[in-house]
């Protein structure tokens, strides 16, 4: 128990912070209800996938600067493929776009291995390439999305046996998020591959000596990052109904949430839960500031300051750890 607390202490603290924020929200806006929580869940969705994408590579000891660009590219690809197409066609588009994210992510990893250029430079270069590709797919926001996909993240699902009062607090967007992340993350976490990802992030040398295929594992970590980013791109298209070629603020947000979520930028440590809770925290801060009618640019300052402070704090901790 004590070990669980020690290990999950950071996440527990974040949860507590989230609860406090919810209480504050309720105080500012006594009418804050299940519908508003649904809005929060939908706002969280693309950020959560972005941060999942970042988390995998950071755990593997890397960083991915192309997350937001990957989301933009997958988003415009999905939106332009579905434009004017039938509802059923989307059944093909979704796996196609996910596979595309996976493959392009793997390209990131392969380039890092083959060129031996540091990950930060490779993914920066890929940021431009993916952005450019997104602009070639759609030079302006547009496209369309199948209705059933939109429906997938709006409203709630009636869960038999659950009273409506509880059910109302389970927005579909949240369920989609949980299902998509769990389907990939839980088996991964339990598999040898998952262990290998932690292992190369923790100590590449020890991992190699333990028989971990380091290069292959690194490529797969980037591929998974691409896959999560593709989920994020799809989530964007599902919530807006269009694809936008200019990347949103997801790169910085993902780094901020990763660090805030207790994943060390050095690799090997942390999980997915912390960063996801961190995303909820950051989004709820924005909601609260809007409820208080504070200039949204102040929110940008606060988000930036949280990020810089947390990254500095994280760097400070790593520095102390190294000494």
């Amino acid at each position: 128990m004590s070990r669980l607390l020690r290990r999950q202490g950071w996440v527990a603290g974040l949860f507590a912070l989230l609860v406090i924020l919810f209480i504050i929200t309720k105080l500012i806006q006594p009418g804050y209800g299940s519908g508003d929580f649904g809005s929060l869940a939908r706002a969280v969705l693309p950020y959560a996938f972005a941060v999942a994408a970042q988390t995998v590579v950071v755990i593997a000891g890397g960083i991915d600067l192309s997350v937001a660009a990957m989301m933009a590219l997958t988003s415009v690809t999905a939106a332009s493929m579905m434009n004017g197409a039938s509802e059923e066609y989307a059944l093909f588009v979704v796996p196609f776009v996910l596979a595309m994210g996976f493959v392009l992510g793997a390209v990131n990893g392969i380039l890092i291995i083959v060129t031996r250029v540091p990950d930060i430079v490779v993914t920066l270069a890929m940021l431009f390439v993916l952005q450019g590709a997104a602009l070639l797919v759609l030079d302006a926001p547009g496209g369309a999305v199948a209705e059933w996909l939109k429906g997938l993240i709006s409203g709630t699902v009636p869960i038999p046996g659950l009273p409506d009062a509880i059910d109302a607090w389970l927005p579909k967007a949240l369920l989609v998020l949980i299902i998509c992340l769990c389907i990939i993350w839980i088996p991964l976490r339990r598999s040898k591959l998952g262990l290998s990802i932690y292992a190369i992030g923790s100590s590449e040398l020890a991992a190699f000596r333990s028989g971990v295929p380091v290069a292959r594992t690194r490529i797969i970590a980037y591929a998974l990052s691409g896959l999560f980013a593709a989920f994020g791109g799809l989530a964007l298209t599902m919530s807006t109904g269009i694809g936008a070629p200019i990347p949103g603020p997801y790169l910085l947000a993902s780094v901020a949430a990763v660090v805030l979520g207790g994943v060390a930028l050095g690799g090997g440590k942390g999980g997915l839960l912390g960063p996801i809770v961190a995303v909820f925290v950051l989004r709820l801060v924005r909601t609260d500031l809007t409820l208080l009618a504070i200039d949204p640019n102040v929110t940008a300052i606060i988000e930036g300051a949280i990020m810089v402070a947390v990254v500095m704090f994280g760097a400070f901790i790593t520095m102390r750890g190294r000494q």
């Binding site: 262990l195 100590s203 991992a207 000596r209 333990s210 028989g211």
Partner: protein, 516 residues
């Protein structure tokens, strides 16, 4: 033991750039045998283990496993071939718990647990994260993990070095039984007690080459020492010390009192006088790295004091040490040099360090100082545009020239002749003596014992993080230094029996030795 060898390696070579870690190593291990692999620090033992277990690739050589040529390309392949190593450094993934580490390597959990108990750790929680486990226990876990898969050949690289006596004993027991059950163990250790208690035969490496295979019989230790040291054993003093020996007069230039650094350095005290070269003698990892780093201001001591000219000083950055006149020349030249910069910039680097010197450089003055240092050390400047194009020896000279140019009063030289040719070595010896002649003081660690006699006035022997002896250089010869370095009392001359004496402080349980 006429069986075919389980493992047979011949002609193994490995180069790291200019450094030849292995030149021509061979090793043949029979079933049921515990085979010692011996050699001085840097002889290539670990490198050979890494090659045999696929952790690095050899440049040349042939490896037969059960008589078949095998190309072991990765640790996983070695494992499949039945070769399991316990490397000199712990190999568990620091951020994973023990159980996950087992899963990662496909190690069966129950046998592992059994071995851990057997090895004297009854209460291991396999949910503990490796990072939180003490080093000694980690070493045991590494071993248990290897044993759990019942390897044909177990390779143990300084397995017992970090263990307290009780755990070491268990390990020796277990290893012995491995041999008895028909498997083979390759056992690396600097402790002769362990070798004679445990091993059947020993292969001795010197400078990357196999120089002998001996059966372990009483009295063989002297022979092994001989093999390990080679021709050097008979060297006598050559040092031409003309300088004044005023170590006893006046305040010492540098005083070290009860210095402690973490667990690596315990209670070290000594003095260094102006005009003196003091040699530090120690096996690898006895705390000398920490001592030099602390004196250089690179790490902060956890206790004790450092005095310069009688004044206590506290260093929080190398600049503090430099201001106090202590200049550090690290053993690894890559650590000291900006490889892509010119010889001149590297030598002049300390000039610009202080804020007030950030402005325009007086090029003429700088040039004069740099040129004079270059001439003094006779640095070959044909490729001076980038230090990385210099030969190793010349690079080493640049690291020293910097402090000659800066006119440092005390130079802390850590193994400055590593990988350097004989001629250059002579120049460096001469230079150090000259410095002493000009009243400078030098603290000099070398991994080549012979140099101590050539250069030093006094010898400071460190073992297990403590100063075990200090004596004038005249009172010693190389075998005596060797013994001293191994923590054996002086005076116990060539009495081989003592090498096997289990009561000697070699296995003192408080001694954390030979960490990587």
């Amino acid at each position: 033991m006429t069986a075919n060898p389980l493992l047979d390696a011949t002609g193994v070579a490995k180069n790291y750039g200019a450094v030849a870690a292995l030149r021509n190593a061979s090793l043949s291990v029979l079933p049921g045998e515990v085979h010692a692999l011996m050699g001085a620090n840097g002889a290539g033992k670990s490198t050979l283990v890494k090659i045999l277990t696929g952790a690095i690739r050899a440049d040349a050589g042939r490896i037969l496993i059960r008589g078949e040529a095998r190309d072991v390309r990765s640790p996983a392949a070695a494992r499949r071939a039945g070769l399991l190593p316990v490397y000199q450094e712990p190999s568990l993934i620091p951020d994973l718990d023990v159980l996950s580490n087992l899963r990662l390597t496909g190690t069966p959990v129950e046998p592992f647990r059994a071995w851990v108990r057997e090895l004297g750790i009854p209460d291991l929680d396999i949910r503990d994260t490796a990072r939180d486990i003490p080093l000694a226990v980690l070493r045991v876990l590494d071993l248990a993990r290897a044993l759990a898969v019942e390897p044909d050949v177990l390779l143990l690289d300084e397995m017992t070095a970090a263990l307290p006596a009780n755990l070491a004993e268990k390990v020796l027991e277990v290893v012995r039984r491995q041999g008895d059950s028909g498997r083979a163990v390759i056992f690396i250790s600097h402790r002769f007690v362990e070798i004679s208690a445990l091993c059947d035969r020993a292969t001795v490496l010197r400078d990357g080459e196999t120089v002998g295979v001996v059966d372990i019989v009483p009295g063989v230790e002297e022979k092994i020492v001989e093999l390990m040291l080679g021709a050097r054993i008979v060297k006598t003093h050559v040092a031409a010390r003309g300088a004044s020996r005023n170590a006893a007069t006046g305040r010492p230039r540098l005083g070290v009192r009860n210095l402690r650094v973490g667990t690596k350095l315990n209670d070290v005290s000594f003095d260094l006088a102006d005009g003196e070269v003091a040699g530090v003698v120690a096996l690898e990892g006895q705390g000398q790295d920490e001592l030099f780093s602390a004196l250089a201001g690179s790490i902060r001591p956890s206790g004790g004091t450092i005095e310069v000219d009688g004044q206590p000083v506290k260093f929080s950055h190398p600049i503090d040490a430099i201001r106090a006149g202590l200049a550090y020349v690290p053993g690894d030249r890559a650590e000291a040099l900006a490889m892509q910069r010119s010889v001149r910039e590297n030598i002049a680097l300390p000039f610009s360090a202080a804020l007030r010197n950030w402005g325009p450089i007086n090029m003429r003055q700088e040039r004069a100082r740099v040129v004079s240092a270059i001439e003094r050390l006779q640095i070959d400047t044909r490729a001076q545009g980038e230090v990385q194009r210099l030969s190793g020896g010349n690079q080493q000279k640049v690291t020293i020239a910097r402090w000659i140019a800066a006119d440092a009063r005390t130079i802390l030289c850590f193994d400055p002749t590593r990988g350097i040719d004989v001629g250059t070595k002579q120049e460096i010896y001469k230079l150090l003596r000259e410095l002493a002649g000009h009243g400078k003081s030098v603290l000099f660690y070398t991994s080549e014992l012979e140099e101590v006699q050539r250069v030093c006035d006094r010898v400071i022997v460190i073992f297990g993080g403590r100063v075990v002896d200090i004596f004038p250089v005249e009172e010693t010869d190389e075998p005596a230094l060797m013994r001293a370095a191994y923590g054996l009392p002086r005076g116990a001359k060539a009495d081989v029996g003592i090498l096997a004496d289990p009561t000697a402080n070699i296995s003192d349980s408080t001694t954390p030795v030979a960490a990587p």
